[in-house]
Symmetry: C2
DNA sequence: TTAATCCTTATAGTTAACTCTAGGTCAAGT
DNA sequence: ACTTGACCTAGAGTTAACTATAAGGATTAA
């Protein structure tokens, strides 16, 4: 199975190795294995998971909340509903942002505000 | 014309007077008038403008960038295109976030990732 | 006239999310 | 064997955006 180093993953996800180590320290990556000498080794599935984390971050979710989500994942099927609800909640947040933005666009398009 | 005090506006917009003064210091509210004694007096249109600022913040726009936008507004019609472009850009950002979120929702709905 | 609410400046504290440095380990190439 | 480069940790430093306090003063509603 192909694995990746921290700097390869950082490049792929467009962030730094510092940031990945910080995420690890914050409990966002309990799934990442190590070599006998202690180096992190990332699998394809780890990278997929990190992409989900990035998506959650994009929606404005704080790291502590993402950490909770990761912890739920470790708890298995019993937390499936919670996890699903959380995603639905996130979606609602972004949809609400979209609505606000649309309203604002309408305002500026109709030139109804100036200083 | 009806006007509002800083604390009334803070309550209406669901933030604190501290925050409003901070925004003022950062150049986000050059339009707000004062009484002869120096108190800020907000009009309905000021509040409308502050709501636009809140909307921009919701999309993740930093205060410095919002300040630039406000400065453009002061520059009048010559910056109309820039301002419109900025809003389109913001909209695109949020739409992209939506797309990411939809993808992620699909992933979790199909239960294709677990730790 | 007293209490509340506002103002200022200056300064300090807080939180989140990085971002970096120092000092050390380890594995591969020459 | 040795040097180079990528990795490690702990912990310090940074930035943004508040959030609050203090000290001192003005205004306004009851």
């Amino acid at each position: 199975m192909k694995t990746y180093s921290i700097s390869e993953v950082a490049k792929e996800l467009n962030l730094t190795a510092y940031t990945l180590r910080y995420y690890d320290k914050e409990g966002l990556m309990p799934f990442v294995e190590r070599t006998p000498s202690g180096k992190r080794i990332f699998t394809e599935s780890d990278i997929g998971f990190l992409k989900v984390i990035q998506c959650l971050k994009l929606t404005g979710m704080p790291i502590k909340d993402i950490k909770n989500f990761i912890a739920w994942c470790s708890d298995g099927d019993s937390t499936l509903q919670q996890r699903y609800d959380m995603f639905v909640d996130r979606k609602a947040t972004v949809v609400a942002q979209m609505e606000e933005l649309k309203k604002t666009l309408e305002v500026i398009e109709h030139k109804t505000f100036y200083i």
